[in-house]
Amino acid sequence: MHPIFHLVAAAAATAASQPGVVSTEDIELQFAPRTPNQLMSFYEARGFPSAMTDILSKQCFITVRIHNKSDTTIWHDLDRWRFFHNGRPLHREHRDYWLDKWRAMDMPLASISTFRWTLLPEALDYLPEEAEGGNIILPRVDGPVSVTASFATGDDKQGKVITIEYSDLYCAEDKE
């Protein structure tokens, strides 16, 4: 059995839209919720049609940054992430869901391409010291969302499993 490094992050959120950070000796995750206005500003400035921004502004966007602080490969795979709200699983749509949706709506190829780039990759091997990020999209809910993410490690994925739990994630709201 692989050794499992298990961290329960109990960081207190100072504000719903403030980035949360979970850090171990091997990995650091930052969670930065984006408000609907932030989303609209970003995508509208890049010429996204309102048909896209109207839908996106109703979602819960979290910008995630993953930093491999270890000296071995860390394997990120969103299939190994679980989200919960009020004790129940919160379903995250795969990026293919969104790409298929935009294509079905006949949205501009450039917008679809840019949108794809802004998402956190579904899977990515992080070399030592690499730090990459992107957005994850969840259904917009009130109250805290918890996330559990586990990462395989090592070139052959046979190293210890790193499990991160963060229970103070919020969908950001526009300020009045």
Binding site: R46, T114, W117, E132
Partner: protein, 175 residues
């Protein structure tokens, strides 16, 4: 167009033909082996309206870099790429920048703002970039003289640092 934005899709120096094997050079930290097959071909137009066909670089190493102005790490990395290009002017790979899915005004404004002399190809609808299936921006791939993908770097790199310069110079010079 400002002279600062003169074309720098430069194939330079005595770039030698070599085989499929990427050779014994071990890449510096942050560059991974990526020998997955042929690099997808493309023809794109740069900001001066000049057409570039990837096939024209066959026989040389190609530093192919995908970027967008809205991408923070891309912006941060550009000066390093500029410096790298200046240091490799005689003995480096062909340097090709591809902007992903932005319009000409946006690209021009951005490159002028940061005083970049490098030109960029424009992948207006993002579909050339999609063919490379990179997993994040910026992404750089290194294409061997045989047209095969050999290395990949996801995210920004300090390309002007000696370890990267030496590696790229070594690739271009090995034969």
């Amino acid at each position: 167009m400002k002279t600062a934005l003169t074309l720098i899709l430069f194939a330079v120096g005595p770039l030698l033909m070599q085989g499929v094997d990427a050779g014994p050079l071990e890449p510096p930290k942050g560059i991974r082996h990526y020998a997955i097959g042929p690099a997808p071909g493309f023809t794109l137009v740069d900001m001066d309206g000049e057409s570039f066909d990837l096939a024209s670089a066959r026989g040389k190493w190609v530093f192919l870099h995908f970027w967008a102005s809205w991408c923070g790490p891309c912006r941060a990395e550009m000066p390093a790429i500029q410096q790298m290009s200046e240091r490799l002017v005689d003995d480096g790979p062909v340097i090709v920048l591809v902007n992903t899915a932005e319009n000409e005004d946006t690209i021009f404004s951005f490159l002028a703002e940061i005083n970049m002399e490098l030109n960029s190809l424009m992948d207006a609808d993002g579909q050339v970039t999609e063919r490379y299936k990179p997993r994040g921006l910026p992404t750089t791939v290194l294409i061997g003289p045989d047209g095969n993908l050999q290395y990949q770097a996801i995210g920004g790199r300090e390309w002007h640092k000696p370890e990267y310069i030496d590696f790229l110079r070594g690739l271009a010079g090995e034969g």
